[in-house]
């Protein structure tokens, strides 16, 4: 039933899976750039990185869901090049995604044997299938009715069934993509026990997660990716948490430090009168209450790992989600924030992280995208004339150097960096006093990246208040007056003045996390 580790290959010299120089670009933008990953027999190996680091592309490229541009994949020394997830499975590489892709309306047994049902004379042997299902799940400590629809069971059980199916199909490598995101602590424990059990039988497990506690609780080794590149491969036991976070978020300290002085000139005295103050602002189950005061010309950075509540905070600040705690005062006056329209009325702007789905309107032109927020604020009955629209579009295309400089081009045809600039232009056209930027430099090529940083710095010298979310710590350090560090959807530290440096942020992110009992 379960695959026995090949005795000849079980040597340290031949790794179970060796990926060398894996590269993949989408529309000219590299998502993976020469990545090496080595998975040994019987090990649990964490694949870590922030959003956009290339983890998903990596999994897709080795399982044949996307074709790779360059690089080799060898399994027990033999090159493999699956052209689909199905072929990958036949080769012994099984993937279980966060969203289990089994069929919830079929029974557990049917799901386990889907496409490979035991048959006799062309008929499915239901009894035999059930018997084998029960035996199979016993290895996973699962004592459930295999005749019940899979959808009747919890996500945890569904995950275990998916893993059992993969293992039973003689998988040698199991890739688990964020399997614990929707599980509770007890279910995670069961999953870990199964993982250890499987690893003990010689399977290699590639474990993708953003819960660092779990990484330290279960993995043997860690590979970190950042911006499509390999940052490093380490033994888990020999890698301090702080160092791991630095691998995920930071560049070399010296590099970041060199950028720091550029900010000194922008330091402005907090203007108490013209301040935007969020006090005890929060929403139950979403973001814990926090205080945030912003004066014009100030940049506040929001730092933290993926899932720490940064984006959620931004959405509260912009009224996308309504706060149920605390209050907002602008220039001393209490203000209600029930919708983005309220926020916009008070001079807020928001560039969301999901640029394509929540930012640009791809079909409309650059001009229309730029004037959109201003027009929405003025109302349908006070249209900007075409001349005014042209003038606004032209002004920002020149100011932000949007390329190609054609205001009538559908914005969907522009590169990511130019789309981001057009979105900035959309908000700058409303002459905002507070701009909230969520990962403004993600997925943008290097040139545009630098320009956007330059813009952020320039904007605050012109008196805007900015809240910037970024996983690029050295970037935050280079422009932020203050950095708020978040973990588990609450603010855990506020760093100001001299304390705003990469080391301090990393320490704050890594600070006193209780290790998960192993």
């Amino acid at each position: 039933m379960s695959p026995s580790p090949s005795p000849t290959a079980a040597t340290a010299a031949t790794p179970l899976l060796a990926v060398r120089g894996l590269s993949k670009s989408f529309a000219g933008f590299p998502a993976l750039d020469g990545v090496d990953v080595t998975l040994r027999h019987g090990e649990i190996h964490a694949l870590l990185g922030e959003n956009g680091a290339g983890k998903s592309t990596f999994i897709k490229a080795i399982t044949g869901v996307v074709t790779r541009d360059a690089g080799t994949v060898t399994l027990d020394g033999a090159p493999v090049a699956p052209r689909s997830a199905d072929e990958a499975l036949k080769a012994g590489i099984a993937t279980v995604y966060q969203e289990v892709n089994l069929l919830p309306n079929l029974t557990v047994a049917q799901n386990l044997f889907l496409g490979r049902q035991p048959t006799r004379f062309g008929l499915v042997r239901e009894v035999e299938m059930r018997r084998r299902s029960i035996a199979l799940l016993r290895d996973f400590d699962l004592d459930i009715d295999v005749g019940a629809p899979l959808g009747d069971y919890s996500v945890a059980v569904q995950h275990l069934v998916a893993i059992a199916r993969a293992v039973d199909m003689s998988a040698r490598i199991l890739i688990l993509d964020e399997p614990t995101a929707s599980l509770d602590a007890h279910e995670v424990e069961i999953l870990f026990r199964v993982m250890r059990n499987l690893a003990g039988k010689g399977l290699g497990i590639l474990f993708v997660t953003h819960f660092l506690d779990q990484v330290y609780a279960i993995t043997d080794r860690i590979t970190v990716l950042r911006n499509g590149r390999l940052v490093g491969e380490r033994e888990t036991a020999a890698l301090p948490r702080m160092e791991l976070i630095r691998m995920m978020l930071g560049r070399e300290l010296s590099e970041a430090a060199s950028e720091h002085p550029a900010k000194a000139a922008t330091e402005a005295a907090p203007d108490a009168g013209g301040a935007i103050r969020f006090e005890g602002f929060g929403k139950a189950g979403y973001v814990a209450p926090f205080d945030l005061a912003l004066a014009s010309g100030q940049v506040v950075g929001l730092a933290g790992l993926l899932g720490s509540g940064r984006t959620e905070t931004a959405r509260l600040l912009f009224g996308v989600e309504s706060a149920d705690h605390g209050r907002l005062t602008i220039d001393g006056e209490a203000v209600r924030l029930a919708s983005p329209r309220d926020a916009i009325r008070h001079g807020f702007g928001y560039c969301p992280e999901e640029r394509k789905t929540e930012g640009i309107v791809a079909e409309l032109t650059v001009r229309e995208n730029i004037v959109l927020a201003l027009q929405a604020r003025r109302g349908a009955l006070h249209p900007l004339s075409r001349r005014e629209q042209d003038a606004i579009a032209q002004r920002f295309i020149t100011m932000l150097d949007i390329r190609p400089p054609d205001p009538e081009r559908p914005i969907g045809l522009l590169s990511g960096g130019n789309q981001q600039k057009a979105l900035l232009a959309r908000w700058l056209a409303t002459e905002p006093r507070l701009l909230i930027l969520d990962e403004p430099t993600r997925g943008i090529d290097v040139g545009a990246h630098a320009e956007i940083i330059r813009l952020i710095r320039q904007l605050c010298t012109e008196g805007l208040a900015l809240v910037v979310i970024s996983s690029e710590l050295e970037e935050i350090v280079s422009y932020a007056d203050r950095v708020i560090v978040m973990r588990d959807r609450r603010q855990t530290a506020v760093l100001e003045g001299e304390a705003v440096n990469v080391t301090a942020i990393l320490q704050a992110i890594a600070a006193d996390t209780p290790p998960l009992a192993a």
Binding site: F318, V320, P340, R341, I344, Y350, P352, T357, E358, G359, I360, V361, A362, E363, L364, E368, V371, L372, A373, Q375, A376, R377, R378, G379, A380, L381, H382, P383, L384, E408, R426
Partner: protein, 327 residues
């Protein structure tokens, strides 16, 4: 860039002209026009006059489709408005009759809009409810019979003429003009297109996407009611069983011929009307041609297919490739 719009509408205009020319080929008197009782008279005029109800429907439908919606109830709303107008016509003053019929259309639209924008029901399902129930409501109003009226004021909406032009044609042209001014003259058009192309991004940019969505359904209800009044005035009666039957499909087709994507976004009011007129030109041509009626639907389907193929960007790409090939 200055000639963007005409270039965009070129396939539609070409399709319309080709259908007219085919009509001329099968019926040489197609373009003959004379004055009859102070009203222009001829097959060419019929295309505009008979096409008016669907053109009105498509003026409503095109905005709904632009918001990524669909309104299946327009045919039933026509029946309701026609039933109300015909029932009241001989006992109430014209303004009351119009107000009641149009008001019913607005209410129907509001109902659809609330189902879609507030309750979040899929447009095709939400409007299906009124598509089915609406005809029943109309039948209740007429008690299942054809309610006839004699009011000459209401009759003018079907058979009257202004400066020789049939009233339905003048009415459609006026609604088109008003709509263009109200929608393209203000920022409504942009806000509707943005809402349809990306509702989440639009809401984050401060557009009242919910109000916008409700508004387009209300507008569609209004247009359908107007079409219902024209249809009732045309036959001097309200036929709840048949008024507007399946016309929602013609209206959707007109919008598709106009080049709108059913996934929302860009739209053109004028091209939607042109689409409706193209469909009617086909119908008129088929009637003039003298085919056996069994062929009506087949001929229509083939012509529609050709019109849509002519617009397909992929096909024109293939045509260009073929043309480039050395003979």
């Amino acid at each position: 860039m200055r000639f963007r719009l005409p270039r965009k509408g070129l396939p539609q205009i070409a399709a319309f002209v080709v259908v007219l020319l085919i009509n001329f080929a099968v019926s040489p008197q197609f373009f003959d026009i004379r004055l009859q009782d102070g009203r222009l008279f001829g097959s060419f005029i019929d295309v505009f006059n008979r096409g008016a109800p669907v053109a009105l429907l498509s003026l409503g439908m095109v905005l709904v489709v632009a918001t990524r919606g669909i309104d299946l109830s327009v045919g039933a709303v026509m029946a309701i408005a026609g039933a109300i107008a015909a029932t009241l016509a001989d006992t109430h003053a014209l303004p009351v009759v119009l107000l009641a019929a149009l008001g019913a259309g607005l209410l129907c639209g509001l109902w659809n809009g609330i189902l879609v924008a507030v309750l979040g029901i899929q447009p095709i399902i939400a409007t299906l409810i009124l598509m089915v129930a609406g005809r029943g409501i109309a039948q209740l109003i007429t008690e299942g019979r054809i309610v006839t009226f004699t009011s000459p004021e209401l009759a003018r909406f079907g058979g009257g003429a202004i400066l020789g032009l049939p009233v339905p044609v003048v009415l459609t042209a006026s609604v088109l003009a008003v709509a263009v001014i109200a929608i393209r003259g203000t920022a409504l058009g942009l806000l509707i297109e943005a809402t349809g192309a990306n509702a989440r991004a639009s809401a984050l940019a401060g557009i009242e996407t919910r109000t916008t969505t409700i508004a387009v359904y209300v507008w569609s209800g209004f247009c359908a009611a107007l079409a219902g009044i024209v249809a009732a005035a045309d036959i001097l009666g309200a036929d709840a069983n048949n008024a507007g039957l399946w016309l929602e499909l013609d209206a959707i087709l007109a919008v598709v011929i106009a080049g709108s994507s059913l996934l929302g976004g860009r739209f053109s009011l004028a091209l939607a009307v042109l689409g409706a007129l193209t469909i009617q030109a086909m119908n008129t041509g088929i009637l003039l041609a003298g085919f056996r009626p069994e062929f009506n639907l087949v001929v229509k389907a083939v012509v529609v297919l050709l019109v849509l193929l002519a617009q397909s960007p992929r096909l024109s790409g293939v045509a260009v490739l073929l043309a480039r090939r050395p003979a």
